[in-house]
Symmetry: C2
Subunit: 275 residues, 2 copies
Amino acid sequence: MCPAKVADNDIRGWIIPIGGGEKKVRSSAILDRFVQLSGAAEARIAIIPTASKLEDTGDRYRAVFDEFGVSRIDIVQLEDRRDCEDPERIGALQQATGIFFTGGNQLRLATIIGGTSVAKVVRSGNAKGIHVAGTSAGAAFVCEHMISFGRGGPTPKSGMATLSPGLGLTNRVIVDQHFRERDRHGRLLTALAYNPFTTGIGVDEDTAAFIGPDDMIEVLGSGALTVIDASDLEYSSMAAAKQGKPVSLIGVKLHILIEGDRYDLTTHQAQPGAH
Amino acid sequence: MCPAKVADNDIRGWIIPIGGGEKKVRSSAILDRFVQLSGAAEARIAIIPTASKLEDTGDRYRAVFDEFGVSRIDIVQLEDRRDCEDPERIGALQQATGIFFTGGNQLRLATIIGGTSVAKVVRSGNAKGIHVAGTSAGAAFVCEHMISFGRGGPTPKSGMATLSPGLGLTNRVIVDQHFRERDRHGRLLTALAYNPFTTGIGVDEDTAAFIGPDDMIEVLGSGALTVIDASDLEYSSMAAAKQGKPVSLIGVKLHILIEGDRYDLTTHQAQPGAH
């Protein structure tokens, strides 16, 4: 699914993929900034724990947001596709100022939410200014083209990344998460090798890409953001690659960005922060 | 990539995925209708033979369009990504009234054209009224989410279809081609099982889905169009499916349409023709 249209008088909300590592994320400045963007004490945060099969995932994040001083927190349980048509759950999402997708399995998100009224509400809400953050599986899901699963390793190989349609808040990036921790450089390069129209961002744990309404990324957190810019790619051998064999990619540009650094998805320029 | 925005005063061109079977297609009413839509004797057809590695593919289609009375035919050879920035080739595409993608390998199209100026010109041209047809690999490529490769068989199985970003003239459909001839029912169901937000269309050889500016499909040709409507899907087990194992899908609606039948991608209603 592709991004919803932002009306002339509206400003899109921030899109915030977080690289996972739940224990670290829960105590970090990342969620604090998400809360500040969403209105601080006035924020109304909706938590969607659908990616996780653990029953207490929503409650654990409720406690975190509670500590940040958020007064109104809704856990929007979506266990099946019928739940995604329920007026009460949809109402909670419509009244949120910030929506948070937990980690788990991004294919639970896509198979349960994809094509439902909940998907429409989150997409149109973001186009009208609601901020949407997701950690781990929730980070993968924000993209038009989502990495649904794959294998680790440094070298791109045919079949190493499996793409499928995500929620589609943005098509400017393909997100990979737990990036350094799970050795996913090859997997993200593989995803781009199919069609280099977009930019790959690999997000380490306890690290987030704050993607502003102007498609400027700001990095926050203790790890790095790996940007794979394929906009000047000269050659990809993916069309000829045999399953499991390495893929040739010529002319990729790479940036490793840390907290305070910025990346403009429109001009493909990186800007160092004040370190 | 997602569809280019159609300006208020413009009408999108037709999008015409053809199921392949080159010998049959070359003599069929499908290309004749494409030529008529594109201006008949006044048509200017640009042929993009990039999917094919055979040197004479462009010339063979030039001969076909010549027989249909098209006076201006350009073969736009795009052998690598640099060709896709060449002003002369881009100019030929900008002046076309109809653009035709031949068959071959859709990953050659995505890896060579994806993210280049040629992709932009074809996408914006279609949004301004230029008609775009593609046979076989060319049919797969018109979609936002393209089936890049996969395996045959009737039952959907995890990993049976590999998706990657296509040209993205439409996200209303995922196209599979040579549908009956290569037993691709399971592969198309697999593609939808990841995220049922879109509609699957399986196009038999010598058969085409003429997708109008209003997203109404008209079927033309000697085979069938299989429509897989997942808009009321109740359940997909894809999130839990092991590689190569069958996937559970509950609540899929299926239509088999033949020449003269129509399908409305907005309302999900099929209409029989006068048989």
